[in-house]
């Protein structure tokens, strides 16, 4: 899949040649820094891109159907019902003027044409499912009467209200405190198990990936530079960017005096260097990297890296 954002006369390839697939019950982590295209990728799965953006090619298959060929009306029936999304800031996702019960019941009323009493009783169950204490009283309250952790759980309840097949969580715990984050991540995992959800985690935090995900895709400058099973990526990263990222984060109990920093800045998407986008910051750069964009190299089963230096690993090739 790739698509292009046009702004005035400049064209930005915000997401370019990104391919992935996932199954129900699976958790995929999409990691990247700001501007790496990870949120754009998530929004394009729901076709919620800003009007200036255009899909330049590719397809998005969801349960076999190409979402890009759907009409707006068909998309509306999918959003919130079969694909749901949880955003970073719960205060911005919730409407301050409606009660929590109204907002949790809304998708049920819209998608399943539930009556108000039945939608509300379902809303109470959902609040209980996301561990809101005293749900009978809380349904009648407004978002401002709740703490940040509770609000984010309400957003989670809205997300699962119509039992979607795919839940996309975009930095869902960035605004939460540590112990509340741990509660919320465990809750998401339980919901996933209970409903067989496919879960996409969009995050810049490799710790969340290590804790939650089965597979991970690393984005850099709009491209997926490496993807594969989480354990393999952490143990044997094949792309220099992934390796550098893993080495640059402080770890509990490590005695390094200095962290391994990545020089330079992430590139401007409108002025990408020719060749590999990471070449200017790459410690292992060779001449070819600056001239030609690297291909996707399969280094091990279901583990690919977009790098000239990546080679199929001996242990997997011999098999």
């Amino acid at each position: 899949m790739h698509y292009v954002t046009a702004r005035g006369t400049r064209i930005t390839r915000a997401v370019d040649e990104v391919s992935f697939s996932m199954e129900s019950g699976e958790t995929l982590g999409i990691v990247g820094e700001s501007g790496s295209g990870k949120t754009t990728l998530a929004l394009s799965l729901l076709r919620l891109l800003p009007t200036a953006a255009r899909f330049a090619g590719g397809e998005i298959r969801f349960e076999g159907d190409d979402l890009l060929t759907k009409s707006d009306r068909e998309m509306r029936a999918i959003r919130g019902k079969r694909i749901a999304m949880i955003l970073q800031d719960p205060m911005a996702s919730l409407n301050p003027l409606f009660t929590v019960g109204d907002q949790v019941a809304e998708p049920l009323r819209v998608h399943e044409h539930a009556s108000r009493p039945s939608a509300w009783s379902r809303a109470r169950e959902l609040l209980r499912a996301v561990r809101i204490p005293a749900p009978e009283a809380r349904v009648r309250e407004y978002p401002h009467q709740m703490s940040g952790g509770m609000r984010q759980r309400i957003v989670g309840a809205i997300g699962i209200s119509c039992e979607p097949r795919l839940l996309i969580a975009d930095e869902p715990t960035t605004s939460l405190d540590l112990t509340i984050q741990a509660q919320y991540l465990n809750l998401l995992r339980e919901l996933q198990k209970a409903h067989g959800l496919a879960l996409i985690f969009i995050t810049h935090n490799l710790g969340i990936v290590a804790k939650m995900c089965d597979r991970v895709a690393v984005m850099y400058a709009g491209r997926m530079v490496e993807s594969g099973p989480v354990k393999q990526i952490f143990d044997k990263p094949a792309h220099p960017y992934t390796r550098a990222l893993l080495e640059s984060i402080p770890r509990m109990g490590d005695s390094r005096q200095r962290l391994t920093a990545i020089d330079g800045q992430p590139p401007d998407l409108a002025r990408l260097p020719s060749g590999c986008s990471f070449a200017p910051r790459c410690p292992d750069v060779v001449d070819r990297c600056r001239a030609e964009a690297p291909p996707d190299v399969v280094v091990a089963p279901s583990h690919a890296a977009r790098c000239w230096l990546a080679a199929p690993r001996a242990d997997s090739a011999s098999r």
Partner: protein
């Protein structure tokens, strides 16, 4: 031990809460309650805790932006209360801050050179040539090119802006820098650059840091000592490596077990504490953590535990009495 750069003894800060009819007093928030710590020259104290635990109020008191309601603050052995005007000025110059968001902390209408020079111009009598020399020296210290002085903040990325903010904080050659979440607004690949820079500057200039952050691994990496706060009180404090690897207070244990793993195989025992931090307006009686504590005993709800030495560390918990 050398005289600490800064020492707090039984520090507290109460905020009266007014409201209702005619703004009658409705009680007080004990934002900081009986907090003591000391930072030695060239050392870093990491302050951790969740929102509402009082770490920002503590930082504000250290910066002189809030007056403590009780307790003593000493700077290089001198009681701050006893300082005269010149002493106060010297204190303010010696304690500087770097904030979380370098997009908010730098004036967009000033050139970088003027931003860095502002503390110099307001606090010291220097000729413009001397100021210029100091600006260039500071830019070099934080790894920015000379020409940066002529540019505006919007021409820099987040990491470079944080370097500018650091250069400004160093302009008056402070002894202590308060770092309030200095890297959490930055991109992951940039954070290590800034953390390394801060460590280099500490080694080079003998700076002391009060480091406040959510990322426990970063705090453990940067700090010599760590103090853990919960609802205005320090529940545990001690040497960083020991505390982060073998926390003793049930809250510290829960907090560090909630920290995200650095590898998918890393499975630590998860202690999920129930519920949320209670309102500081109505803190629980006794130990403030007892309603969420997995080891709570009857006396925890009545008696306030005090910090006691426990294996080279201070822990405030009845379990260790």
């Amino acid at each position: 031990m050398a005289t600490p750069v800064i020492e707090a003894k039984n520090l507290s800060k109460l905020f009266p809460v007014k409201g209702g009819f005619l703004g009658r007093s409705q009680g007080v928030v004990r934002a900081v309650d009986d907090v003591s710590f000391a930072i030695a020259p060239g050392q870093t104290l990491g302050l951790v805790g969740e929102s509402g635990c009082g770490k920002t109020t503590t930082a504000k008191i250290v910066l002189g932006l809030e007056e403590p309601t009780g307790g003593i603050m000493r700077f290089e052995g001198q009681d701050l209360q006893s300082l005269d005007g010149a002493g106060r000025r010297h204190y303010r110059k010696s304690v500087q801050a770097v904030f979380q968001d370098p997009f908010a902390s730098l004036n967009p209408r000033m050139r970088v050179g003027a931003i860095i020079a502002e503390p110099l111009v307001t606090n010291e009598k220097l000729t413009s040539g001397e100021v210029r020399k100091r600006i260039l020296h500071l830019l070099e210290l934080v790894g920015l090119p000379e020409r940066a002085a002529e540019l505006f903040p919007h021409e820099f990325s987040g990491g470079q802006r944080q370097r500018i903010a650091i250069a400004r904080s160093l302009a008056l050659s402070p002894r202590l820098v308060v770092l309030d979440e200095p890297v959490s607004a930055l991109d992951v690949s940039i954070r290590a650059q800034i953390l390394n820079l801060l460590r280099d500057l500490q080694a080079q200039l003998g700076l002391s840091y009060l480091f406040i952050a959510h990322d426990l691994a970063a705090v453990a990496h940067m700090s010599h000592h760590i103090a853990v706060m919960y609802l205005g009180r320090i529940v545990e404090s001690g040497e960083a490596a020991g505390l982060s690897q073998a926390p003793q207070h049930p809250y510290t244990q829960a907090l560090f077990s909630a920290a995200l793993p650095s590898h998918p195989d890393e499975r630590r025992e998860e202690i999920i504490v129930a519920g949320e931090v209670p309102s500081p307006l109505k803190p629980p009686a006794g130990c403030r953590f007892h309603p969420r504590c997995p080891h709570a005993m009857p006396r925890c709800s009545t008696e306030v535990p005090t910090l006691r030495p426990q294996q080279s560390r201070l822990v405030a918990c009845h379990l260790f009495d």
